[in-house]
């Protein structure tokens, strides 16, 4: 493993930003750190970059202990959330900065700057003052600047955070292709699961300074490890239940229990694996509270046993009931019902 983080703690006074997080990043891998604001993502980047010293814990790069090594000797790149472009330097000077610091020759610097500006689609922008750039353009300059020195590890802190949706989606795609093209080892921080899943080889979901789940985007999405991850991914149909006699006794009624389940469990009813075609094998009955159109999906809020659950159905389904009407949902317990870690 290239980067290895083990049991890192960091606190500021009474605030514990990191509480023993551990994970690893392999060469050429793109790992995203996904979590709500305040979960310690940015602190973790600061610790890896060397801007912060961890209280305890190990950080190794290629089996080399990074603790105590100042940021400018780590050879990493960091793209800041606010881009942190140098306001007194133009685009070209911003991008050249890292190269200048590692004492490249002037000719190589010019070539390299042109190359990366080309890569981010700002070939003509070299002489522009950064204050005259739009948000998207600034973001590309910041990316170009962090890419230019060819960092061993590129860290990106919410790089698309403040941009509007269309721009975000376009830049997300571009970013992905650029990172792949350069086979860049990258650590990407975001609070947006779409972004995280679109870019990542592996996702680290963070909660309160710890890794709540680590896995491929598919694995995380298909099998959230715990209530926090499920909730964060927008799956809110979570209930406590008791397994008794092969049944889960839950607030919304008795549901079939998987074989391995026993005792008190946390149950997730996946909102996305559900049908209305009467095909069973199991069914839930309720009343539609509301219906909202979400593009390719349609979200239903359904009252079952006086509890409100949400379900996402393809918009292509034609016979969606209206609010107030009763509904019968077909599901397969092995797919739809998931037992979460406590």
């Amino acid at each position: 493993m290239l980067l290895s983080i083990a049991n890192v703690h960091k606190s500021y006074g009474h605030i514990h930003a990191l509480r023993g997080i551990s994970f690893e990043v392999a060469e050429g891998e793109i790992v995203t750190l996904l979590g709500p604001s305040g979960c310690g993502k940015s602190t973790l980047l600061g610790v890896i970059a060397g801007l912060e010293e961890p209280d305890i814990g190990d950080i190794y790069w290629d089996d080399r202990d990074l603790r105590g090594l100042p940021p400018h000797k780590r050879g990493f790149g960091l793209m800041f959330q606010d881009y942190a472009l140098f306001p007194h330097k133009n685009v070209q000077e911003n991008v050249a900065f890292g190269l200048l610091m590692s004492k490249w020759h002037q000719r190589e610097i010019t070539e390299r700057v042109d190359e990366v500006l080309e890569l981010v689609g700002l070939a003509e922008y070299g002489n522009r003052a950064v204050a005259t750039l739009s948000g998207g353009e600034q973001q590309r300059v910041a990316l170009a600047r962090s890419l230019a020195p060819g960092p061993d590890l590129l860290m990106l802190d919410e790089p698309l955070g403040s941009l509007d949706r269309t721009l975000r989606e376009r830049l997300m795609a571009e970013l992905r292709s650029i990172l792949r093209q350069m086979e860049q080892t990258a650590l990407y921080v975001t609070h947006d699961q779409e972004e995280a899943f679109a870019l990542a080889d592996r996702v680290v979901v963070m909660n309160q300074g710890r890794a709540a789940q680590i896995g491929t985007p598919q694995a995380v999405y298909q099998k959230p490890a715990n209530a926090f991850v499920a909730n964060f991914l927008g799956m809110s149909n979570i209930f406590q239940g008791k397994v008794q006699d092969g049944l889960i006794r839950s607030p919304i009624g008795d549901l079939p229990a998987p074989d391995e389940a026993e005792g008190t469990i946390m149950l997730l009813i996946r909102p996305d694996i559900i049908r209305l075609d009467g095909s069973g094998p199991k069914q839930l009955q309720g009343r539609v509270l509301s219906r909202s159109f979400r593009g390719s999906l349609c979200r239903l809020e359904v009252e079952i046993q006086s509890h409100s659950l949400t379900f996402d159905l393809p918009s292509s389904v034609t016979n969606l009931p209206r609010p107030g009407e009763s509904i019968v949902l077909d599901y397969d317990p092995t797919e739809t019902l998931q037992i979460l870690a406590q």
């Binding site: 006074g13 400018h72 962090s146």
Partner: protein
């Protein structure tokens, strides 16, 4: 946290040592010695001052004229601040620069300017006498309360323009729009949104103006005339004419006390109004003059500013190139007899005097003192500003910040005499050293330097330093490539402030300078105090040259201002 605090303490060391040696020690020495001279004990002069009706009268007048002057300054300054904050128009930079010029002109020159414009023989009176065929000059301006008030407005309007204008230009106009959408009309927006947001900065500006008016000396003495005395004038009078040092000391303490209260209030308020700069904000907050109402408003404000702040200086410059013989009204002639005789005369050493300084030399000496002041003020101001930028609200900074401004409220006479008795022993025997002049100038320039630098230092986002570090810059390289260039322009602004203040300073210089090194204001004073029109004309010519320097300095400040950094 502990670490940050010790950094702050360390940064304060040099500026505080300087203030201790060159301000508090001399001031303390002269006050102690003065009170010790009281035959009836050190308390007696305090009792004398408290019970003396003339001290009451002086204190009352000092406060009253400062109050009136401050109100008038705000009346002119606030519309001007609005204009500069919200509109973009051609010549704005020049306007800002011109309005800053009065601030750095020595009182002697200002008095000569007002005399050239409004004196019995000034352009206006001569013109009116000519047009209406009057036997006497109709306007009696010199030696009156209006002269004091107008001169104070002349000096201090730029403070309001700069402090309030800069802050206002960063107020998001969308706040007002939001209020309008919520149903507020223009006046309600002004009353409920704009004014509450501006109150701290307006109060801070008003306080600073009040401090300057409160400690006014030359304006009161020369333009106000014998019927008016402020505390500062009374201190001068008690010290020099009567040698009543104990009473002078008590008055100095009184003035310092008042100044301290005001500087504490001022620094509290200005800490509240400081904000990180935003590079694009003025693009969003300023518009062109579109409607005719806006144009009329702009025209009116600009005209008023130019009339009050610039015409006296123009009158002086005009007088310096006009032959005195031909504008004598008794001969009924107003023909402008232009002459450069006074400028030519400046470079002739008619008396072969040892202390004669051709204008180039006086300018050279002024520039050398100014350069020394710049270096000293920056060396001391930078760490102090850095410390303040760490955390404006820390207890240490809250105590020290107002102290930096105290020299502004200290009588030059008192401090000058303080230097004589305090700096008498090696290794500090500087009494005859030309170094004393830049040291005294630094005391005056110091608060301006600190206040120009602090916001710039505060505005450097830590992420910029981090970004540079991650890109491979060592701490020293970060300082060189990020901090210095970013503060660089603020440094230039601060330097220019120190420079122009030093160029125009007269009060302290006249007490400390060496005759073979006359500064430009000193040379003007020498010429002005001699009979003979050629001497007077030369004084005007040299004043005009000084004015040109002040304008260049102010234009340089405008040039380097980065998105309105600086608190005044």
């Amino acid at each position: 946290m502990q670490n940050k605090r010790s950094v702050t303490v360390l940064l304060w060391c040099a500026p505080l040592i300087f203030l201790a040696i060159f301000y508090f020690y001399p001031l303390g020495s002269i006050l102690k010695l003065s009170l010790a001279r009281s035959e009836a004990g050190a308390l007696a002069p305090f009792v004398e001052a408290i019970t003396s009706p003339s001290v009451h009268r002086v204190l009352g007048f000092t406060i009253w004229q400062a109050f009136l002057s401050t109100i008038l300054t705000l009346l002119l300054g606030l519309p001007g601040a609005y204009l500069l904050a919200r509109f973009d128009f051609r010549g704005k930079t020049l306007l800002r620069a011109l309005t800053g010029v009065p601030f750095v002109m020595p009182t002697l020159v200002v008095a000569a300017s007002f005399n050239a414009l409004l004196g019995p023989h000034g352009w206006i009176n001569v013109g009116l006498m000519e047009v209406f065929n009057l036997p006497e000059p109709p306007i009696q301006f010199l030696n009156s309360l209006p002269a004091i008030l107008v001169a104070h407005v002349f000096y201090n309007t730029t403070i309001v323009l700069r402090m309030v204008g800069d802050f206002w230009s960063h107020l998001d106009p969308r706040l007002g729009k939001a209020a309008q959408v919520l149903g507020a009309n223009r006046w309600q927006v002004l009353k409920n949104v704009t004014i509450p947001l501006l109150t701290p900065v307006i109060t801070a500006a008003a306080l600073l103006v009040f401090i300057f008016d409160f400690t006014s000396f030359g304006v009161i003495l020369i333009l106000g005339g014998p019927h008016f005395a402020t505390l500062e004038v009374e201190i001068f009078y008690q010290t020099i004419s009567l040698f009543n040092l104990p009473l002078a000391a008590v008055l100095s303490v009184l003035q310092l006390g008042c100044t301290l209260v005001m500087t504490i209030l001022y620094t509290r308020l200005s800490a509240k109004t400081s904000r990180p700069i935003s590079l694009q904000s003025s693009r969003h907050t300023q518009g062109r003059l579109l409607t005719w109402q806006q144009r009329i408003f702009a025209f009116g404000v600009i005209a008023l500013l130019l009339i009050i702040l610039i015409t006296p200086l123009l009158a002086l410059a005009g007088r310096s190139v006009t032959s005195f013989g031909v504008i004598d009204t008794r001969e009924g002639s107003l023909a402008p007899g232009l002459t450069l005789a006074f400028y030519r005369e400046l470079s002739i050493n008619r008396q072969e005097s040892l202390f004669y300084a051709p204008p180039t030399t006086a300018i050279g000496i002024s520039l050398t003192y100014a350069a020394a002041t710049v270096v000293l003020a920056l060396i001391l101001g930078l760490p102090a500003a850095w410390a303040l930028a760490q955390d404006r609200t820390s207890r240490l900074n809250r105590v020290l910040d107002p102290l930096l401004m105290l020299p502004l409220g200290t009588s030059a006479v008192t401090l000058g005499l303080g230097f004589i008795i305090a700096l008498a022993h090696p290794p500090l025997d500087l009494r005859t050293s030309p170094l004393l002049v830049p040291i005294a100038h630094t005391l005056v320039a110091f608060p301006f330097v600190v206040r120009s630098l602090t916001p710039a230092l505060q505005s450097i986002q830590p992420s910029l330093r981090h970004a540079a570090a991650v890109l491979g810059a060592s701490p020293r390289q970060v300082l060189r490539h990020i901090d210095l260039p970013l503060v660089g322009r603020a440094l230039l602004v601060a330097a220019t402030f120190a420079f122009t203040i030093s160029i125009g300073e007269f009060g302290a210089t006249s007490l400390l300078s060496r005759p073979e090194y006359p500064t430009v204001p000193m040379a003007i004073y020498r010429l002005l105090s001699r009979p003979g029109v050629l001497n007077y004309g030369q004084a005007l010519a040299l004043s005009t040259i000084l004015m040109v320097f002040a304008i260049s300095g102010m234009l340089a400040i405008e040039r380097f201002r980065i998105a309105d950094v600086g608190e005044f």
